[in-house]
């Protein structure tokens, strides 16, 4: 279970001071699927970043499975990224020099690989419907395909929480629905998902919707 308690994040100081998050609290049960919506600049990305430890909080706490993770050292955060939290980005963020299969394998290269790495990566590619594209470089894949590779990559470590920042923001609506269906499938397998989205249609397919405005939670379902 993930819990965000009274999180605040302030960028800059003086006249450049921006309160990106202001006393945000949130609970995400295991196996939950939360959609985060809100206008641009409302703090959605910042919220995901502080949950995953990509940015430090100015105040408040993040607790994952009963343990504070907002004050962890860099090495401890690496451990969390290898075992518990994975990311999916709007821009896919695949490594251009690696093939689809290698991109899926990458987390196992850094973390502990149990020997069946390639098999597992291939299986995940099959699951996202890209087994035929295993040997293709990102530049040879469409946006939707790249995002599916990124989802396979986020699953390879067996993480229990996926943070997805506008994963459908760069693809057309039809492809967006396909990507969403993949997330739904993954969620059915027990992985918690927190997904930022602009699309009300996609947000409504999540179990819960949390809306942000000016760094504050304005409605939580």
């Amino acid at each position: 279970m993930l819990e965000v308690r009274h999180a605040s994040k302030i960028y800059g100081s003086g006249p450049a001071r921006v309160a990106a998050l202001n006393d945000v609290s949130l609970r995400v049960e295991d196996g939950d699927f939360v959609a985060i919506t809100g206008p641009s600049g409302s703090g959605k990305s910042t919220l995901l970043n502080v949950i995953g430890g990509l940015e430090k909080l100015t105040g408040g706490q993040v607790i994952l499975d009963g343990r504070r993770i907002d004050d962890l050292s860099e090495n401890a955060l690496v451990d969390i990224r290898r075992k518990k939290i994975a990311y999916v980005f709007q821009q896919y963020h695949l490594i251009p020099s690696l093939t689809a299969l290698e991109n899926v394998l990458l987390p196992l290269t850094f973390g502990a690989s149990n020997g069946h790495a390639e098999q597992r990566a291939m299986e995940l590619l099959r699951r996202v419907g890209l087994e035929k594209r295993a040997g293709h470089k990102p530049s040879q894949l469409s946006g939707g395909e790249q995002q599916r590779v990124a989802i396979a990559r986020s699953l390879v470590n067996g993480c229990t929480l996926i943070l997805a920042d506008e994963p459908t923001g760069n693809v057309d609506q039809k492809t967006g629905i396909e990507v969403l269906q993949l997330f739904e499938q993954v969620n059915r397998d027990g992985v918690s998902i927190i997904m930022v989205t602009h699309s009300p249609e996609i947000a409504h397919r999540a179990r819960r919707i949390v809306s942000l405005r000016d760094g504050e939670v304005v409605s939580a379902g």
Binding site: S45, N49, L54, E55, E74, N75, V78, R81, R82, A86, Y87, F89, Q91, H93, L94, I95, P96, S97, L98, E102, L105, L106, P107, L108, T109, F110, G111, A117, E118, R153, N157
Partner: protein, 396 residues
């Protein structure tokens, strides 16, 4: 998939950048290889010249014995043309030289080892012009003067035969078959030597006993060349022993004479090595520079890798792997370029120097290149490891 493979694939995509970085390493390494190769060839040439000169040692009469003194008044050394020592002293010289060589090379052989070529110089008049007649042991002399060639006729064999230096033959207008009146006796010119560029060209060579008899210098010689035919022979030690044990002669190791020349070579070498060192450092800064820009280019990739679980250490390790690759490529390029460069600058520094590539420098060149690349990658790797994921991914 291993970390090394990730680095390799990434490097393949950035071939040009990697090559460019490797060039920074290669420049310094090339300078070093070129300098060392040229220096080596220069040194080899000095020693080759010494070897070509023939003897390892020269024995002459002890001139200091001829210091002139009048009461307390020193009149200096009298330089006289006729200046000899007893031929039998050469037996002792041989004993000392052979013993020393036996010891140095650890051989038991009882026979003669060193080549000892005695010479008796007599300044005389031939055909109405002054000429230098040199009494030699034909066989031993030939062993010392390995570069001698007989351009006409044959080499001297009998007591009443002479062989002429090229210039002597021309100035005396004597050729093969002509006779020569030496001290009142007929001597036949049997051969003429090819030009050597040394004093030998002006000399008339006749067997030693003949010269001793004809010029009434029985049992005397002017000098002797000693050749040990081994580069490890302790020529300086032998010279010292001869000087200590045999009165009336002075022995000099040719290598001692050559040392002055070596000093100059060494000075030039030191200067060039300093230049190479500076080149290496400048090249290393170039490497740091290109590596930092390659960190900038890869900010996003590094951020992604960290986001999917790469630790700082792993990021550093990836840079170290790349540095090793860059070092190996730079080392190979540097070795090749340095060798080529030495073929160009060698003859400019030591005229007409024949440069030979030195395969033995390949290993050190690679080692140096990897070291430079590794050191140069420390700071960029550190910078890369400090990249913050949120910022790196937002920036694009």
């Amino acid at each position: 998939m291993k970390l090394l493979q990730v680095v390799f694939k990434d490097a393949l995509r950035r071939k040009r950048r990697v090559l460019y970085t490797a060039l920074g390493v290669a420049i310094g390494v090339a300078a070093f290889v070129a300098v060392l190769t040229v220096a080596r060839a220069g040194e080899d040439r000095v020693y080759a010249e010494i070897d070509k000169y023939g003897p390892n040692l020269m024995v002459t009469p002890a001139v200091s014995d001829l210091d002139l003194q009048l009461g307390d008044l020193r009149l200096g050394t009298l330089a006289i043309g006729d200046n000899y020592f007893a031929e039998e002293k050469l037996l002792e010289v041989r004993r000392i030289a052979d013993d020393a060589i036996r010891e140095a090379l650890d051989i038991q052989d009882e026979g003669d080892i060193a080549t000892i070529a005695p010479k008796l110089y007599v300044d005389t008049e031939l055909q109405g012009t002054s000429a230098m007649v040199v009494g030699i042991d034909p066989e031993q002399e030939r062993l010392v003067k390995t570069w001698w060639i007989v351009s006409e006729g044959r080499y001297v064999e009998q007591a009443d035969e002479a062989v002429l230096g090229a210039r002597a033959s021309a100035s005396l207008r004597l050729g093969v078959g002509d006779t020569l009146l030496l001290g009142g006796e007929q001597t036949t010119v049997v051969g003429v030597l090819g030009e050597t560029g040394s004093n030998d060209d002006y000399h008339v060579f006749v067997p030693l006993p003949t010269v001793q008899r004809l010029f009434a210098r029985e049992g005397l010689v002017s000098a002797a060349d000693i050749r040990a035919l081994c580069s490890a022979c302790p020529a300086v030690d032998i010279a010292d022993m001869i000087n200590e044990e045999i009165p009336g002669v002075r022995a000099v190791a040719v290598r001692q004479i050559a040392e002055t020349e070596m000093n100059l070579v060494n000075k030039v070498n030191r200067f060039m090595i300093t230049l190479a060192g500076i080149t290496l450092i400048v090249g290393a800064f170039g490497v740091v520079n290109t590596m930092i820009s390659s960190v900038h280019e890869r900010v996003r990739d590094i951020g992604i890798m960290k986001a999917v679980g790469a630790s700082r250490r792993q990021i550093v390790r990836m840079f170290v792997y790349e540095a090793i690759g860059v070092g190996v490529i730079g080392g190979l390029l540097g070795y090749a370029a340095g060798t080529l460069l030495s073929y160009v600058i060698g003859p400019l520094i030591f005229d007409d120097l024949a440069v030979a590539y030195e395969l033995q420098y390949l290993g050190p060149a690679l080692g140096l290149a990897v070291l430079v690349a590794a050191v140069a990658s420390v700071y960029p790797a550190f910078r890369a490891s400090q990249i913050r994921v949120a910022e790196s991914l937002r920036s694009l």
